[in-house]
Assembly symmetry: C2
Homo-oligomer: 369 residues x 2
């Protein structure tokens, strides 16, 4: 199944383009092939190698209904230079400025897939951390931002005593005065340890690469082995660096700033986040606070954990307004190779939070297809 | 005019929301105020300080025509923690996942504006570098990617001999094998020096923060004092760090991955890029290869260089398929506090590139309102 690496292999980027008539689409496709590669008039390129090997190549144009076309453009691997930020730049940098172009999917040559390397831990690694072999994994979130570290720590212990596997920071928790990263880290990991809880605390890393490294070093020192990042805010290249520097850490990717649709969510969150190393990918489940369709969620989950060359699967983490009443339906939909994340609905239980957490965990544990 | 810093001041984020009826918009606005702050049910927040000071606050809802509403939400400054990445997260992180929400504008408290600090050089600094006092600045781009360093260097010299002020890398030039950054840098700066050219070479920085720092250090060593970045790819926090670490360098911001409209371009490119330190902002001019309207471009340019607390103005750099025939019209439209960027159209001249460049420069120099 694995093809040998061939340097002439191209990335095949698939764009969905709105275009008024079949007449114009060929020119439009060619323009995007140029925009996403040499970005200058083809007529002005006098170098044969560049025309042959570097210029983007329109490989297919297919009507896709409702005045749209699917256009496949072959992009040269050499333009990426092994850098995840540049990968995004070459796939969609300038074309993101066209409101009628969507980056729908990308097929990667095997050599590039292996170079980026994907998740270092994946589903198996996240299962191992929690000593869970078959059932779905569970996750919750510490909120709201503004709480002092000791309150967040109390909350973490209450969740952990309910049997949750992973307790992540809300993505709004950064390095603010109300709960500075290192103080929060110490309070939460200390409290979990004192209470004898096995739950994994997953701190959210933020700031520039140096800040993120300092945070992660402190976290590792405190016994943390799983952390959350927002690749669209941190920058793909910085996330890629972090993954390479910390092979022992599993990363949950948060979709903040991932947009609604200009890069198809299954591609961006399911495929690209996985490619550059996300062990788990959080995304808004259908029927919650966000508008993703069930089909989008299914394709996204498939992209995150489906077979893909040598890459380990990422764990899909459907979230965004979920509750325990939906656990059964979600497991029917996603199967058990999944991490279910319920935050607000557990917090809403107030004094009954431990019981609500226990009920969530039990619902997941008792599920049997 | 400058108000004293008041810690209770909020960022006022202005969203444009599609909503079917006036009935639903109040709940929708409240949901976004919560999503962009505490991200949990308000009823479950038992901390008075958080309800009073941290939760986002709907400040105004105004019908904006065609089933849309403009919603003003006050966000607490403390949630940003001084980090540009977190700023983006708090303004639009999760709401970017709603396809019917646009981040239209943001008003910043003066204290936050000063903390971020804006351009270190701005229009005056870019004029000073080129010894240009009144006319518009000129810029061109080295392309295509795939050319070896010596060819790019020859091209730079030909542009420089035509009298161009700034010669930037194409944003597709990263650290690829065809022209690795340090080899390209040495070839281009060496060739310009040997030819006695005063034009500024503006290399494009790419990769993770470490890579970018190495590139910038090499560039400074080679005499470069102006560099290009793509803040949406590099990550806001990393760009912020770079600006702070290199007060002597002027930065041109490229709009790659800036999207078409989910964050209004005048806000993202004109205001946010400026806030975190872009001395010049490149954007697609109307009537070129991209679909920005003239009005969008005007508002963007105003945001980039208009009066804003203590911030220096950024230079607007309209680009994306411009040509010398449009110089007069562009200067009529933008005035002379601008940098005109023509790349492909000059390259298209082939053998006549020096003459085409001279004509572009002369057209700019001879303009007189």
């Amino acid at each position: 199944m694995l093809r040998p690496a061939d340097p002439s292999d191209r990335l095949r980027a698939i764009y969905r383009i709105r275009c008024d008539g079949a007449d114009g689409i060929a020119a439009r496709a060619q323009a995007i092939a140029v925009e996403q590669s040499i970005e200058m008039p083809l007529a002005a390129v006098d170098d044969d190698r560049i025309r042959r090997e570097v210029v983007g190549r329109v490989e297919a144009i297919t009507p896709a209904g409702a005045g749209t076309f699917e256009v496949v453009i072959g992009l040269a691997v050499e333009t990426v230079g092994g850098d995840a930020g540049q990968l995004l730049n070459m796939l969609f940098g300038n074309s993101s400025l066209h409101e009628d172009v969507v980056l729908a999917d990308v097929e990667f040559p095997a050599a590039l897939v292996r170079e980026f390397g994907g998740p270092r831990h994946g589903i198996a690694g996240l299962r191992r951390r929690s000593n869970v072999s078959a059932r779905a994994l569970t996750c919750t979130a510490l909120k709201p931002q503004g709480l002092p570290p000791e309150r967040l720590a109390q909350l973490a212990v209450r969740f952990a005593q309910g049997g949750i596997d992973y307790i992540k920071d809300d993505h709004g928790l950064a390095d603010q005065d109300s709960a500075p990263f290192v103080v929060r880290l110490a309070a939460i990991t200390g409290a979990l340890r004192s209470a004898g809880c096995a739950a994994r605390y997953v701190p959210s890393l933020s700031g520039d690469l140096d800040a993120v490294r300092r945070q992660l070093a402190a976290a590792i020192e405190a016994g943390v082995d799983t952390a959350m990042v927002a690749p669209m805010i941190m920058g793909f290249a910085n996330f890629q660096r972090l993954v390479r520097e910390h092979p022992g850490v599993a990363f949950l990717a948060h979709p903040a700033m991932a947009g609604a649709a200009r890069i198809a969510p299954p591609l961006l969150i399911g495929k690209l986040f996985r490619l550059i190393g996300a062990d788990a990918v959080i995304f808004p489940n259908h029927g919650g606070r966000f508008g993703y369709s069930a089909e989008t969620c299914r394709v996204l989950a498939d992209a995150a954990r489906g077979e893909w060359d040598t890459l380990q699967p990422s764990v899909p983490v459907p979230a965004g307004g979920m509750s325990t009443t939906r656990v059964r339906e979600m497991l029917d939909f996603y199967g058990t190779e999944v991490m279910l994340l319920i935050g607000g609905a557990l917090l809403e239980a107030g004094e009954r939070l431990p019981a609500a957490t226990t009920a969530f965990v039990a619902e997941v544990a008792n599920y049997s297809g």
